[in-house]
Symmetry: C2
Subunit: 354 residues, 2 copies
Amino acid sequence: MSRYFSGKYASLTPYVPGEQPKNREYIKLNTNENPYPPSAKAIEYASKAAKSLELYSDPDCLLLHKAIADNLGVKASQVMATNGSDEILNFAFMAFCDKETPAVFADITYGFYPVFSEINNLPFRTIPLKNDFTIDITDYYNAGGTVFIANPNAPSALALSVSEIEEIIKHNPDNIVVIDEAYVDFGTESCVKLINKYDNLLVTRTFSKSGSMAGARLGYGIACESLILDLFTVKYSTNPYNINSMTMAAGIGALEDWNYSEENCRKIIETREFVKKELSALGFEFTDSVTNFIFAKHNSISGEDFYSKMKENGILIRYFDKERIKDYNRITIGTLEQMKEFISVAKAITEGKI
Amino acid sequence: MSRYFSGKYASLTPYVPGEQPKNREYIKLNTNENPYPPSAKAIEYASKAAKSLELYSDPDCLLLHKAIADNLGVKASQVMATNGSDEILNFAFMAFCDKETPAVFADITYGFYPVFSEINNLPFRTIPLKNDFTIDITDYYNAGGTVFIANPNAPSALALSVSEIEEIIKHNPDNIVVIDEAYVDFGTESCVKLINKYDNLLVTRTFSKSGSMAGARLGYGIACESLILDLFTVKYSTNPYNINSMTMAAGIGALEDWNYSEENCRKIIETREFVKKELSALGFEFTDSVTNFIFAKHNSISGEDFYSKMKENGILIRYFDKERIKDYNRITIGTLEQMKEFISVAKAITEGKI
């Protein structure tokens, strides 16, 4: 760091995204991307928007907010879109945490939560998942801060039910509960409907996974109007034109054609269940994933070695050098063809043939 | 604001972008957009990128950084692209200011600087422009904080020379000087070349104005490698995938076809000089703009009334309800045809006919 870098960030450790090596072609199962392309309508609308880039994009995102609201059955004034869901999460850390209101989240969850805390100079407290990587909801009662729960959680791949989430919300009447639903479309019930019942719930979502639009950077939050107004205050004090016109148009296109994305999710779920069977047969242990990835380990090989051997054989998966989960790998569900190749390499590795 | 909104933002006043009314078609001369569409190559590359949105964009922006670096004659490691230049400016406030290092900027300049200070809970100090809206560079010697200078400045439309900027840099050896060159391509010499000589200079730029890409949201910073690394630390702790694939591709396309943008800038400069002559003939006073807008006032009508009458007649310009500049309007330079219409309405207003 330079001698000019602010001392307040002396101990800051940035987030490390999944690697994107450019030296060879890999089967990419390391960043939870959707293996299917975006909807034709998303592509068409984005291409059309590219022709008028000389004009600023709409900072109020009116058309996009309306499209999202219609899709979810809420009001447009209950939605705020952002440059990926990382941005809405960061805004939530900014708006709803401070020295007196720490962030509270699981020890094993999205690795960006502690980084958001540190970049905003906020205190945070972690709550250990149980040994089986599930959440004990009573651990979050009267949490004494703003609660962040990825539901389903990553990399554990497990979800709480809506009624369990509701208990957590009820037991934190003076604090915000943020439910990060990045992976909700692969088999978990959303708690969006609870926003009309509780003024302390913020749900965050993304088009990156189920919408096949990771490269477009489009996330959003859903909450009661007063929380959305708070988030707008942060947005208009940070980056008012945070979403470009092409991404906004792509989002509207994707929503008009949402059946296509739902069908892709169904295919991914089907493939995931196939992979679970195959991994079981090879002696892997894993949580019963409701996401587009599987969190698995094998007694005969370390997480790091399995990752390395996979990479040598042209397949990228994610390994976390972190206590409690270093035996595991996170494997994104690709196409059936990609996953058959993955299983075949996994078989060779566990049999000691490569 | 909700009862959950952090008390640290109790006095925060968000930035107010130029209005984007949707009730009728206006000649839009209020947000300093370029009247010409983006380069055909920018559109083509963006449309192509839209087809592969299922994959994350490259968080390191390698190809885009190389294209920008080649265009400017610097190294790719001296460049960092962001989601509009508002983002690189915000990152600079975050990285290089703190309680001990206030932000220092002019009283009349980009209205976002005080907002960036407040959202990051940073102290700031303003230095008045002289009566003629020029900067006395000695006011910035040993500024005791991180200096932000828009060069050319907005809305005053005037610029410092590279040697004047260099004096400011030399006289702040222990602090960063940020030169915001959003409007540099309309007739001002850039100080990018100074980055190899001074380790305390950050230059920020945007594709929004000269590049006809306001809707794509693409800005960047140029500095010595150690400052760029600091900014990367902030980016990777805030929003690693901050630029979507389509915008990245559009930026590369625009740079491959930069002659087209330069030709547009020449046309805008020519139109600006035409507008200056016409405004003089109508009795307007204005600074000698080197930007894509003119900052003008007329003795017979207030800034607010001129703005309102323009709007009634289908032309949007910008009015600032702010001490020292409330007599003025900021008028973006559009096409020659649009500006002839503007002059014709301005004539009717000053003659009291409408």
